[in-house]
Symmetry: C2
Subunit: 294 residues, 2 copies
Amino acid sequence: LDTGLVTGGSFIAVDWGTTNRRAYLIADGEIVGSLEDTLGILAVPSNGYPSAIAALRDALGDFPVLLAGMVGSDRGWKNAGYIECPASLRALAAGIRRVSTDIALVPGVCSIVRDRGDVMRGEEIQLLGAVAAGKTPADALLCQPGTHCKWVRMKAGAIAGFTSVMTGEMFALLRNHALIGSVMTGEVRDGDAFRQGVIRSGEQDLLAALFGVRPASILGLRHDADAAAYVSGLLIGADCRAQIGTGDKVHILATPSLGALYAAAIQEIGGETNLVDSHDAFCAGIARIWELIQ
Amino acid sequence: LDTGLVTGGSFIAVDWGTTNRRAYLIADGEIVGSLEDTLGILAVPSNGYPSAIAALRDALGDFPVLLAGMVGSDRGWKNAGYIECPASLRALAAGIRRVSTDIALVPGVCSIVRDRGDVMRGEEIQLLGAVAAGKTPADALLCQPGTHCKWVRMKAGAIAGFTSVMTGEMFALLRNHALIGSVMTGEVRDGDAFRQGVIRSGEQDLLAALFGVRPASILGLRHDADAAAYVSGLLIGADCRAQIGTGDKVHILATPSLGALYAAAIQEIGGETNLVDSHDAFCAGIARIWELIQ
């Protein structure tokens, strides 16, 4: 595949999201340098990408750059489009968009089933990388918690289909803007309040259970310090219950703290879990795409 | 019952909510004057109630005043407490809180079932008034759509139990603050998009269906002008499905426009509906409480 990228063993891989960015210097498949900051696409003006890339090279070295995530959307630098499911690392590599001789964007993945559509951008590298690195089976259910949690069905090592859920965004909406937000001041961690939320999510519809946070405070039925963890349990519980049944095994790609909450919820409702480090998975995936485009 | 209120055939009844207020001059059970404004409790300083009442009397006449709604909460003028379910008009009348010889507050209603609590304040007058006026049966399922939709089980003419759902507040949160809010610019009315939302609410979990609004826009699967009506259908559909089954009859107390949306959703999922004017119901209820405290 002639991509016009300078070939060689070393390159800079960037997982460039909406509010955060992680860059890795990868040499012969190994991470030899990295940086992480809050220079997501919202913080970069539309004409600011060349200088942002130059700054990355100042920090990590003057190497070719492979970009994934929201940087490849119409809100980012240039739109790299979407690969339709089933989507493999090979299909992503074949679909890269070249910006210059030594900078390229990886496309996202979309799913269209009848009138239901879904999109991801950036997560696909982690998902496919987890399989490529042998961290998850080639046929498995994967979950990437976050602002928009992804539930992904992998078949033969490719993304066969997926569903996005606004779990994390909903938590932030409620805490920052809802009437119940005023009592959602406590810490969110696994514990009795979180588990009660997970259990309640199986007993009552979500919009009613969420309203109940305020009367529970007014009537003294729950400590206000527990409200945020309880709401997190309600949302994560509702999210997991819609996707899995008893005995299902879920491979979770997440940071340790958020991964632990999902693992607790999945175990509470009878599923099994395997935690996979999402940074390692990203690097495995992007390194494989790099190999494929040489 | 000696309440200290000046007795007589005429009084001013106020349905005083968080953001709106409706006042009625009622003479011998008939509405002979009314006013409506946006002077909800959020717009009245804590020491501003005596002058607000004086202004009401300037407008409607120098009569005794009976206040219901959030004005009787700890965020309003004075806390009038709650009557526990089952709650009748007689129990509300017995629980009024006198502010002066000719001004009184009606308490709210609370429900505590094991560790689940719920509260209402103002809605109870409409609900019990609908029954007292013969607009709904003494044993029935009533629904009051709104910011916090109430589903109420009436038994022998009293409020036996109820559930509040943050349907209206969630719609506002999504439109004003969520990522999908940017496409929720169209009109909300009954039609194909609204009905599609009601149907989808039975096929997919709410947090996943809500996320789907954005990919549907990106992938061109739904006109952006239809997004707000579709989201309304999702939320109202999820709300109704959690409360009713096929063939259930729901008595809806609402303004005509919101009542029509709930009636459409309930009919779409196989229920039957009866629309009751909520203003008439309030006046019937508050007039009955007035009689009881003479």
